[in-house]
Structures are given as structure tokens and as C-alpha cells.
């Protein structure tokens, strides 16, 4: 497994959100994180990326312990977060945002070629390359956030609510992109509110509640799981 998380605890200072999360994500596979708002998905993503400190447990990536590494060092190892709310650099141009995506030493060589690949993947970004990122629509900003994440040549992409508030056409683009990442052999950890779609796209899934994993399995199995059906589909 590329990513192995064991009994991870964390949160914001004294406010503990994660109470021992154990999960794994493999190369060339989409792993979905399901759970209601406030279940701890975003906290988990941010702790994995190194934006929040772990209060206990371990994060292993590519066989090495990364639990205590700062965020920049994790990007350098190959972990890219596409954060909830996109967090683009609003006053910088689209092109500069992409350039910054490749600021980790591992990604600096050949960043121009990779930027061209991103423009090919998301033609809208090429049209708007010179505009400030803050002037883009929500969907375009999401494309930019994903492209910026891919600029770092990651092995693991943490996608936190990438379709939140997007129009259906944009949602399709996002899921097509996820499919493409899997085909390229990347590990994708996907926190997604659209449970039906997430389970369709996922090879494996974890259900998180109150900072704990309460169910795990293959996507198709979980879709049939009574607890998941009750919680998310409103059917028995």
C-alpha cells in the first residue's frame, strides 16, 4: 500500500476530531472517504497533508514514516492536497498558480511541459492563463486547484470535496479527471459528498463517523451495506 494510516488522532489543538483512523490507499486506485459534514474528513485530509499536527498514531507513505514531517516535505515525498474550498492564489494569474504548484524541488524540472499538459487537460485554464485566479468561476477554480496539485508530480492526490457547489457538467469533468489519475497509476484519496458517484468511481471506500472509521470495503460492497444505505441513500 502506498499510504498506510494507523490509529491516527488529531484535530485543532485541544479540540480532538480524529479518534484513531486506520486506512490505506493503493497506487492506481481511487479510495473514497464517506461521511457526514463534521465527521472529520477534512481534518483527516489536512492532517495527512501536514497542515495539522497528528496527536497520535502514524502515517506511512511509500514505506517511510511521514507523521511528523512539515507540509513542504510531504509535497516533496509525493503527496498533493487539493484542498476543500480550492485555496487558489486569487491575485496571482492562472499561470503563476500552476508555476507555484511545481515549487517543490521534485517538481521544478520540466514544469513548463507539465503546465502544457494541464492546459491540454483543462483547455479553459489555457484561455484564462493570464487572468487572476480570483476572477475564475468556482468550477474553473476547482480545475485550477486540481491542476496545481498535479503540477507537483504527486504519487498520492488528496481530493477534498472537489465537486462541492459545482454545476453537473463540471462534476463530470472532475470525475473524468479522477478516472484519468487512476489510469496514470496515481493513488487518489477522495472525500466526496456525492456518495453514489463516489462509490461508483471508487475501488475501495471508508465510512467515517465522529472521527472513526465505522465501515470499510470495496466500493460496490459498501453501496449494498445496510448502514451506508440508511445513512446516505435514505433507504433500508
Amino acid at each position: 500500500m502506498l499510504l498506510e494510516v494507523e490509529d491516527l488522532a488529531g484535530g485543532y489543538g485541544a479540540a480532538r476530531v480524529l479518534h484513531g483512523v486506520t486506512l490505506a490507499a493503493a497506487r492506481g486506485a481511487v479510495t473514497a472517504l464517506l461521511g457526514a459534514n463534521g465527521a472529520g474528513k477534512t481534518t483527516l485530509m489536512r492532517t495527512l497533508a501536514g497542515l495539522l499536527p497528528a496527536a497520535g498514531g502514524a502515517i506511512r507513505f511509500a514505506g517511510a514514516e511521514v507523521t511528523a514531517l512539515p507540509a513542504a516535505a510531504r509535497v516533496e515525498r509525493g503527496i498533493a492536497l487539493v484542498p476543500e474550498g480550492r485555496l487558489v492564489f486569487p491575485a496571482l494569474s492562472v499561470a503563476e498558480n500552476l508555476r507555484l504548484g511545481a515549487i517543490a524541488p521534485r517538481a521544478r524540472a520540466g514544469w513548463r511541459t507539465r503546465a502544457d499538459e494541464m492546459y491540454a487537460l483543462f483547455p479553459r485554464l489555457r484561455e484564462r492563463a493570464r487572468q487572476p485566479a480570483g476572477a475564475l468561476s468556482g468550477g474553473e477554480q476547482q480545475m485550477l486547484a486540481i491542476a496545481r496539485g498535479l503540477m507537483s508530480r504527486p504519487d498520492l492526490v488528496l481530493l477534498d470535496e472537489p465537486t462541492l457547489g459545482l454545476a453537473p457538467a463540471m462534476v463530470r469533468v472532475v470525475f473524468d479527471t479522477i478516472e484519468r489519475m487512476r489510469a496514470l497509476g496515481l493513488a487518489v484519496l477522495l472525500a466526496e459528498q456525492d456518495v453514489r458517484r463516489a462509490l461508483q468511481a471508487a475501488d475501495a471506500a471508508y465510512v467515517i463517523e465522529h472521527g472513526r472509521v465505522i465501515a470499510a470495503g470495496r466500493g460496490a460492497d459498501l453501496a449494498a451495506d445496510a448502514r451506508v444505505r440508511r445513512a446516505y441513500f435514505g433507504v433500508d
Binding site: E76, F89, P90, I103, P132, G134, S152
Partner: protein, 297 residues
């Protein structure tokens, strides 16, 4: 009157003042932008650079244009030392960070008073100056001393270099990312510690160099820093906090307003002009003349 205003001499004076303000304010805004620390002692670095240049010339015979290298590296070293010794440890703890941001004004103000009085103790309050490149050069109708011309040219070149560094260099880009969106900078893998140190090094270094350049045209004194700090504040507020291009534009605007304002009235009104502008901008456009509110979707 109109003839005076149209004169090239005045235009050059405005440009010279603007270039100096730009150099000083850029550093102030970088340190603020990357770390949210308002360095009220920034002008005192200019003073220290001025004295270093004076003594290097008076005691060791080092010409001011060579002393630039000395003050640049001295200022940079001071910046690295201040960052390492004082702020890195304090900024590492999130709870201390909030306190530091709130108290940075007071802390720096205290530091400023100490530095000023130590300088007065060490160098006496008597203003000091030297003769260097004092021959007059004529460019068209503008007559200017060689020292002043060199100082302005160097200030402009340095501003351009800093701007190019921030636009092109990886570290400059990292610093702008930090200014723009601290959390996103961490997300893309900016080495935050390194970028913060770089902003201290660059900010302190440019301020010290500004002191060298200023000493080439004016006398230095222990308390010369405070008005420079205030002018730099006005520039930063006008240009927008954390906005690099805005700072440059605002510096030349303030240089022009001050120069032409004083020419139209009298030097007595300088402070009223500068502070008046400061208060007006704060009241009317707190986000800066060229600043804009962040667009959040």
C-alpha cells in the same frame, strides 16, 4: 509658479524621493506580507545603514558606492539574525503567533526607541555628512550632483531587481505565495521557514542600502529613521498591504505629492501633507488606492 512646477529639476527630485520610498517600503511590505509583522523600526535600519556608510568613508576611506555591498550584506545578516533569534521560535507556536501579530507594533516600537537612543549615545546627536561625488552633472536642464544621480540610479535599479526577483525567482515566487495565501503556500509545498527568512533578509538588506544611498545626499542623524518609517507606512497603506506592485506605484505617487506639495507651499507643510494623505487614504480607501478586496467564491 507654473514655471517652477514644470521644471525638470522638480521632476527629478520627485523621482529621487519616490525611488527611495519604494526601496524602503518594499522591504517593509514584504516583512508585513509574509509574516504580518509591522516593523516600526524599519526606518532605523536606514539610519544604521547611513551611519555604517559614513564611518566606512570617514574612518576607512571606503567609497559609499562600494560600501553598498557592505551595508547590503550587513543588513541581510541582521535580518537573518533577527529572524532566527527572535521570530522563528515565536512564530512556530500558533498561539504565540496571534499574540505576536497583535504586539509586533509595540515590540518594534520599543526596539526602535532603543536603537535610536543607542545610536545617539554612540554617535552623538550631531548630524554627520561627507563630500562624495559632489561635482555637478547636467542632464538637459537638470543640474544634479554626481552622488545624487548615482543614488537615484542605484535605488531604481535595486527596485527593478527586487521586482524581477519576486516575479521570476522560485524563492521570490514562494514569498509572493506566502503574502497572498499563507495556507495555500503550505499546500503547494512552499518552505515557509525559508521564505520568511528570505523576506527578513531582503527587507533588512534593502533598508540598509537605502541608508547608504540617503547618506550620499543628506546628513545622517540618530533620529532620521522615524520620518522614513512613517513615509514607508503611508506608501504601504496607499499601495495596499502585501501588494508589491501597488507599493512601487504608491512610492512614486507619494514622492511626487510631497515634492510638488512642498514646492507649492513650504517645507513646513511636509508633515501635514504626508500625515494628511495617510489619514485620508485610511478613511476613504483602507484597502489601498490600488489594492482590491479579495474575490472569494
Amino acid at each position: 509658479m507654473l514655471e517652477t512646477l514644470a521644471a525638470g529639476q522638480l521632476l527629478f527630485a520627485a523621482l529621487a524621493l519616490g525611488a527611495l520610498y519604494a526601496l524602503v517600503a518594499l522591504g517593509l511590505n514584504l516583512v508585513y506580507g509574509t509574516m504580518r509583522l509591522l516593523n516600526v523600526a524599519h526606518g532605523d535600519l536606514v539610519m544604521l545603514g547611513g551611519y555604517a556608510t559614513y564611518w566606512a568613508f570617514a574612518a576607512a576611506g571606503i567609497p559609499p558606492l562600494a560600501a553598498v555591498l557592505l551595508t547590503a550584506s550587513g543588513g541581510a545578516a541582521l535580518g537573518a539574525g533577527a529572524y532566527r533569534g527572535l521570530f522563528r521560535r515565536l512564530l512556530a507556536a500558533p498561539r504565540a503567533t496571534a499574540r505576536i501579530e497583535a504586539n509586533s507594533l509595540l515590540a518594534f516600537f520599543g526596539l526602535s526607541v532603543i536603537v535610536q537612543n543607542l545610536a545617539a549615545l554612540a554617535f552623538t546627536a550631531t548630524p554627520r555628512g561627507y563630500e562624495y561625488l559632489s561635482g555637478v552633472v547636467r542632464i538637459g536642464e537638470v543640474a544634479v550632483t554626481g552622488g545624487r544621480l548615482a543614488a537615484v540610479a542605484l535605488a531604481l535599479a535595486l527596485c527593478a531587481a527586487v521586482l524581477a526577483f519576486l516575479r521570476r525567482h522560485v524563492l521570490g515566487l514562494a514569498m509572493r505565495a506566502l503574502v497572498e495565501q499563507r495556507e495555500a503556500a503550505a499546500v503547494v509545498g512552499v518552505d515557509i521557514d525559508r521564505a520568511q527568512r528570505a523576506s527578513f533578509v531582503l527587507g533588512f538588506g534593502t533598508a540598509a542600502v537605502a541608508g547608504t544611498l540617503l547618506s550620499m545626499t543628506e546628513q545622517v542623524s540618530p533620529f532620521m529613521g522615524f520620518p522614513i518609517t512613517i513615509a514607508a507606512f503611508v506608501v504601504v497603506i496607499m499601495g495596499g498591504l502585501g501588494r508589491i506592485e501597488g507599493t512601487l506605484a504608491a512610492a512614486f505617487l507619494l514622492g511626487a505629492i510631497e515634492t510638488y506639495g512642498v514646492a507649492l507651499t513650504s517645507p513646513t507643510y511636509r508633515s501635514i501633507l504626508v500625515y494628511g494623505l495617510f489619514v485620508t487614504v485610511l478613511l476613504v480607501r483602507p484597502q489601498g488606492l490600488l489594492g482590491r478586496r479579495a474575490i472569494v467564491r
